[in-house]
């Protein structure tokens, strides 16, 4: 398949997601879809797409690959705030602020669409339906981050990892990227540790526990959920952010 066709498919994935989430017709997103195709670009794994403190550019959407939002503390420790999956916004509406309050890094090679600041402002100004959908997607992602915060504060390691796997699988499933309880899972155990506030050693041991409990297998960057209901229940999973737009 030619590069252009692939990009078009991915752009369609983004707009379909926005249409569903905002309960608006796909036609409302034609302009956005074209813009995405024009502004698609790539970055290699481990590249920082933007760093904390830098001036924030315009709207950026993930078309393929995984990225993460993160913060570095002055003592050198890193906290991942969330994973950015295909079809999601990278740093929704950050262009309203002067500077980024967090960084954004590619975990795998990524394809993404990057609009300029002016362009973004014009887009949301001229197309209220698009603006609305982007905001809804933004609030959705913030809901995911909030659930994550609850994890860090209140769940033990086993529950945290279980919750992470539920969350990721179901989000990928929403965009049609994962099914049959399988999905890609590129983060290293170190990345998982930075996301869950655990050491990579403890992540390793807890993964073994999850395997032993027959909940998942995770090998070669592929996640298989052996028992989704059991995993949800182990994770204290209650998807309050699965809810769609008003």
């Amino acid at each position: 398949m030619a590069r252009e066709d692939r990009i078009e498919l991915k752009a369609r994935m983004v707009t379909e997601r926005l249409a569903t989430l905002s309960a608006q017709p796909l036609a409302d997103f034609a302009v956005l879809e074209r813009l995405i195709c024009q502004r698609a670009q790539e970055a290699p794994a481990h590249a920082d797409l933007v760093r904390e403190g830098e001036s924030s550019a315009g709207i950026r959407m993930m078309l393929g690959g995984w990225a993460c939002r993160y913060k570095m503390l002055v003592n050198g420790r890193r906290q991942l705030l969330s994973f950015v999956l295909p079809g999601e916004l990278c740093d929704p509406y950050m262009h309203l602020l002067a500077r980024m309050d967090h960084s954004l890094a590619a975990l795998t090679p990524v394809t993404y669409a990057q609009l300029g600041r002016e362009e973004s402002e014009r887009l949301v100004h001229d197309h209220p339906a698009v603006a609305r959908a982007l905001w809804i997607q933004t609030m959705f992602e913030i809901g995911v981050e909030r659930e994550w915060t609850a994890s860090l504060g209140q769940r033990v390691a086993f529950q945290r990892l279980a919750h992470l796997f539920c969350d990721i699988y179901l989000r990928l499933n929403m965009t049609g990227i994962a099914e049959d309880n399988w999905c890609d899972f590129p983060p290293t155990q170190g990345d998982i540790g930075d996301a869950t506030g655990l050491s990579s050693v403890h992540v390793n041991r807890t993964l073994q526990d999850l395997r032993a409990a027959n909940l998942i297998t995770l090998t070669n960057k592929r996640l298989f959920i052996r028992n989704l209901e059991a995993l949800k229940s182990a994770a204290l999973f209650r998807p309050s952010y699965g809810v769609v737009a008003h």
Copy 2:
């Protein structure tokens, strides 16, 4: 001072904050200010203003007193997501989603302005400047929550509490409510525990450590910061969200 006058003062505090944060003239917020005065109401301490899962109403602004956003896990544990201080938005733009993904509770008796959903949508539709400012304030508050997430994942108890105190004092200071290193601090040690992901027992002991280190005193719901610079440094505090609008 008459009730109306007090409300007007508080409404002015809100609009001044929005004007500063969005770098827009105060005049842009005249309509909002009037609306706030009309829609002001009260709630007692411990009241839930809205609960997770409920349909989300319109824009709500805190005029006086403290509230908190929180989530309950199915195992009964509670995680506070953030404190809502006077002048801040309670659940910014949640009305875009069908349901609340978290709850909102008063920690003290509170005064707040509650707009209806229709009213909110009309307001932001007819007054783009107001809409813009509200979004900027929203992104600001999300930045605070993100820093909080980093705290939960990467800071030890001592640093977490230190960070909390820096954060709260400086946010109150922004709105002119705190100065000279003094401020109200109504949350109980239990509340602090739910916010920081620590047990109340450990909060108690860590507070003693902070006192012993001559950083703060906290008695009778009043916080005194004895050495702000030392506290910041103990907290690994770097105010990336202190930055104002573009």
